[in-house]
């Protein structure tokens, strides 16, 4: 099976879905000849023409709003936000419109759009090219939100998102673009939305997360296995809305000790809801208090290297938290 980069998985998913369905098109800033500022849409305009890889004026609310209008006419738009930090002007369109169109019309209208937005730091992007805004959109019924950690899931989840009849926010991690490569089959497949995935089997502690920090957990788990004989069970949520409740409870039941990790800041983050689900269902099965290791509650990460390093999770931080939990 070919090993490809995370960014290529995203591009291939768009390319294959555009070949499969003429109603699929991508619009965003610089997505045309330039192929996007990260190269995610490279080659799509050459293959599909100017209309289906559509350069949009620099105005995020219109990128989302025009996509919503086209979706209501039956198209399947993929709206690219250049950085998730810049998608806030589109928030009204996403939360007031996309998320509510089916419900407010009692199923008369629907809004099958995908909004792709790169999240995450570690690229010296400073406050406004590094954010993880998942918690802003999380808890908005009507939206689905996915955040893949691997190339396989990036391709499969993006295809599922494009084929989904409802609005899906696809949070792709820009640090993963070229850093993460894994096996991706040539054959068509999807990763179902709403299903978490066990990345590693273990019996001592459970780590639950999504996107880039899971790779730190995987590396830390190998170290802990070799150095301490501690076996971590690692669950990738993959979809953060709707959360896979059964998958979460099953993963926690394996060990009775759980650490939740994400790069978005701790307060009001996805981890808070995951912790609440566990507390509601499994409190008396736990052998340790629920732990969270997340970004600090500051507005966003600084560009200076020590400041960025201080903000971000890394293998050492995750390993220390895992070890501490295992020894509890």
């Amino acid at each position: 099976m070919p090993v490809i980069e995370y960014i290529d998985a995203i591009r291939l998913a768009m390319k294959e879905e555009m070949e499969r369905d003429n109603d699929v098109f991508v619009l965003g800033e610089d997505v045309g000849l330039k192929g996007g500022v990260f190269g995610t849409t490279k080659g799509l305009q050459l293959q599909f023409g100017e209309q289906r890889a559509l350069d949009a004026p620099l105005a995020e609310s219109a990128i989302a709003g025009v996509a919503i209008g086209a979706a209501m006419a039956g198209m399947k738009p993929i709206a690219e936000m250049q950085y998730s930090d810049f998608m806030f002007p589109a928030t009204n369109q996403i939360i007031s419109e996309a998320a509510k169109i089916r419900y407010r019309s009692n199923n008369d209208w629907d809004c099958p759009i995908v909004i792709r937005a790169p999240i995450g730091g570690g690229v010296f992007g400073g406050l406004y090219h590094s954010q993880c805004p998942e918690s802003v959109f999380f808890g908005t019924p009507g939206l689905k939100i996915v955040a893949p950690a691997t190339a396989y899931d990036a391709k499969g989840l993006l295809k599922a998102a494009i084929r989904d009849p409802d609005p899906v926010i696809f949070f792709e991690n820009k640090k993963c673009y070229r850093l993460i490569s894994d096996e991706v089959p040539d054959e068509d497949y999807i990763v179902p939305i709403g299903k978490a995935n066990v990345m590693r089997e273990g019996s001592d502690i459970t780590v639950i997360g999504y996107s880039m920090p899971l790779h730190f957990a995987m590396q830390a788990a190998e170290d802990l296995s070799q150095e301490h004989g501690i076996e971590a069970h690692i669950l990738d949520l993959r979809t953060i809305q709707p959360l896979d409740r059964e998958g979460i409870l099953e993963a926690v039941s394996k060990t009775g000790k759980v650490l939740i990790i994400h790069e978005d800041n701790k307060t009001g983050g996805i981890g808070a809801e995951v912790a609440a689900i566990i507390a509601e269902e499994l409190l008396y099965d736990l052998d340790a208090p629920i732990r969270r290791l997340c970004g600090p509650d500051v507005p966003a990460m600084p560009i200076n290297p020590p400041g960025e390093k201080h903000f971000l999770l890394n293998k050492e931080k995750v390993k220390a938290a895992m070890l501490e939990l295992a020894r509890y």
Binding site: A59, A62, G65, M72, A73, S105, N106, D108, D164
Partner: protein, 342 residues
């Protein structure tokens, strides 16, 4: 006006390509919108419904817009005062009454949304919300889809002049201008955004903004429905010919308070309102039809009786109709076939 003699003067509506029947139909639709609107206010004052929002004296231009469009192919994105517009597109008084009473059979939203939040896929009326102007980029998107698919569809979107200050107005217009999309942006300038008069909203003319987007901007007198018809028809012809968007500013005046929750005498005078009420084009249009020999007192009497009966019947039906069951409260958050409801 028809005059005897050797020189036959062409009637205005005839010159615009409107048949006599269509001109009469326009008048009937305007009057239906007026009477429905009045009933809505009455129902709220009587405590029968919670809320009503009015478009009184804006209906003649709204109906003219609808009559200038292609109901089979075009997309319609009305704003909350557009009773005349949606009635001209095929929505019925019964539909509107079910919406005012927020009943389950309401085709707009099954009684989930406030009245004035229109939507009907069957009638190509696109579902709308309360945060103003979000519908403007949607219209651009619907027009983009039409262009991509080579369909003979034009999107027409309405909004108030207050809304024209939102970023979505600018973003939607600019996008449509860049891509020369078949869309008509219609600002129904009724000179008030709740309590704020035009002078406190903007210093310029709304129609002049089109210059910045590279397409025509036209101001038209809302009390002249035939002129509104002409301007919208021309904008539609341009759009279909691939010549891109048009911005139309219809000059009108809001004679009612913003909604039944507003007391407009707190910020304007009765004299000002009465002055504009006196410019109501509904009786003027009726007089035009009478002088053209197309309308009579008998017809007027019958029309009023028919409308009264229709509204009474719809009112009674909607009042008795059931609300959507709360068992359905979780329905249609997501598509049901996906089986992924929260």
């Amino acid at each position: 006006m028809k005059q005897p003699g050797s020189v036959q003067q062409t009637l205005r509506h005839t010159a615009l390509g409107l048949s006599d029947e269509r001109a009469v139909e326009m008048y009937k639709t305007m009057m239906l919108a007026r009477r429905f609107d009045e009933r809505g206010q009455l129902l709220q004052r009587a405590g029968k419904v919670n809320f009503h929002i009015s478009g009184i004296t804006q209906e003649p231009s709204q109906v003219a817009m609808g009559f200038a469009m292609d109901l089979k192919n075009d997309w319609f994105l009305p704003y909350y005062r557009d009773y005349g517009f949606v009635l001209s597109l095929g929505m019925t008084v019964k539909d509107l009454m079910l919406s005012v009473f927020a009943k389950g059979e309401d085709p707009n939203s099954a009684g989930r949304q406030m009245p004035g939040h229109f939507g009907s896929k069957r009638l190509r009326i696109v579902t709308g919300s309360s945060p103003v102007t979000t519908q403007v980029p949607h219209a651009t998107g619907l027009a983009l889809a039409a262009k991509m698919r080579g369909e003979p569809s034009v999107a027409i979107v309405t909004f108030g002049e207050g809304s024209s200050n939102q970023g979505d107005f600018h973003e939607g217009c600019n996008f449509a201008g860049v891509h020369q999309l078949p869309v008509i942006f219609v600002c129904e300038n009724n000179q008030y955004a709740i309590s704020m008069p035009l002078a406190k909203q903007t210093r310029g003319r709304i129609c002049d903004r089109a210059l910045g987007y590279g397409f025509p901007g036209i101001r038209v007198d809302g009390n002249d429905p035939l002129e509104v018809y002409r301007v919208v028809k021309e904008a539609r012809d341009r759009a279909i010919a691939g010549e891109g968007p048009t911005l139309i500013e219809i000059m009108t005046y809001r004679v009612t308070a913003h909604s039944t929750s507003d007391n407009d005498m707190a910020y304007r005078t009765k004299e000002e309102v009465d002055l504009h009420r006196g410019k109501d084009s509904l009786p003027v249009f009726k007089k035009y039809l009478e002088e053209a020999g197309l309308w009579s007192d008998d017809q007027e009497t019958k029309l009023q009786a028919d409308i009264r009966a229709m509204i009474d019947e719809a009112n009674e039906y909607a009042e008795k109709a059931p609300f959507q069951s709360t068992d359905d409260a979780f329905r249609y958050v997501y598509a049901e076939q996906s089986g992924e409801e929260l």
